[in-house]
Amino acid sequence: GAGVSQSPSNKVTEKGKDVELRCDPISGHTALYWYRQSLGQGLEFLIYFQGNSAPDKSGLPSDRFSAERTGGSVSTLTIQRTQQEDSAVYLCASSLVAGGTGGKLFFGSGTQLSVL
């Protein structure tokens, strides 16, 4: 597709279960970001991948959160032992140019995660 694709669009899980969220960035985009958006709130930075560099994980809220980016393309955000406070929309974004563009990001539609 032409845009950033995220799956699933909705995920309902039970507290304590693990979940995996997937992001397919725009082809050729070297940078990939994960943000979290709680209801009525702004976007909270989670993690940033740029090319082959070590990812910036400074926004991950706990060690239950991890993310990988395979082959410089698809990324998976994993949340282990989910808690109710993990319920949010998880947004993925990608951008074309390496550092220096400032941040013109293209976002996917997000995964709505609900932890019961």
């Binding site: 709130q41 702004g42 941040g103 990001l105």
Partner: protein, 113 residues
């Protein structure tokens, strides 16, 4: 800590009128600012950006103003249309070489037909 904040959480404007959405930032080192529009059920969409060496930038029906003296950013939308109804976020980049953006809480703009 550093933050990006908005003055008003909601704004209602009559269709055809102009709207102004405001944003305050606290990090004087921020050198790049972006406005995003988020419609219901969708991810944020880039609207317009501005570097810190500018104080005004215009796009199609939108203008961004930057006042570095008071650390204030605004988005002006001219001749509003129903499709402009959305949540608008300002975001700042505190290091132009690093594309990690800090987003504000957002302002919900409602266009009244």
């Amino acid at each position: 800590g550093e933050s990006v904040g908005l003055h008003l959480p909601t704004l209602s404007v009559q269709e055809g009128d102009n709207s102004i959405i405001n944003c305050a930032y606290s990090n004087s080192a921020s050198d790049y600012f972006i406005w995003y529009k988020q419609e219901s059920g969708k991810g944020p969409q880039f609207i317009i950006d501005i570097r810190s060496n500018m104080d005004k930038r215009q796009g199609q029906r939108v203008t961004v103003l930057l006042n570095k003296t008071v650390k204030h950013l605004s988005l002006q939308i001219a001749a509003t249309q129903p499709g402009d109804s959305a949540v608008y976020f300002c975001a700042e980049n505190q290091n132009f070489g690093n594309e990690k953006l800090t987003f504000g809480t957002g302002t919900r703009l409602t266009i009244i037909p």
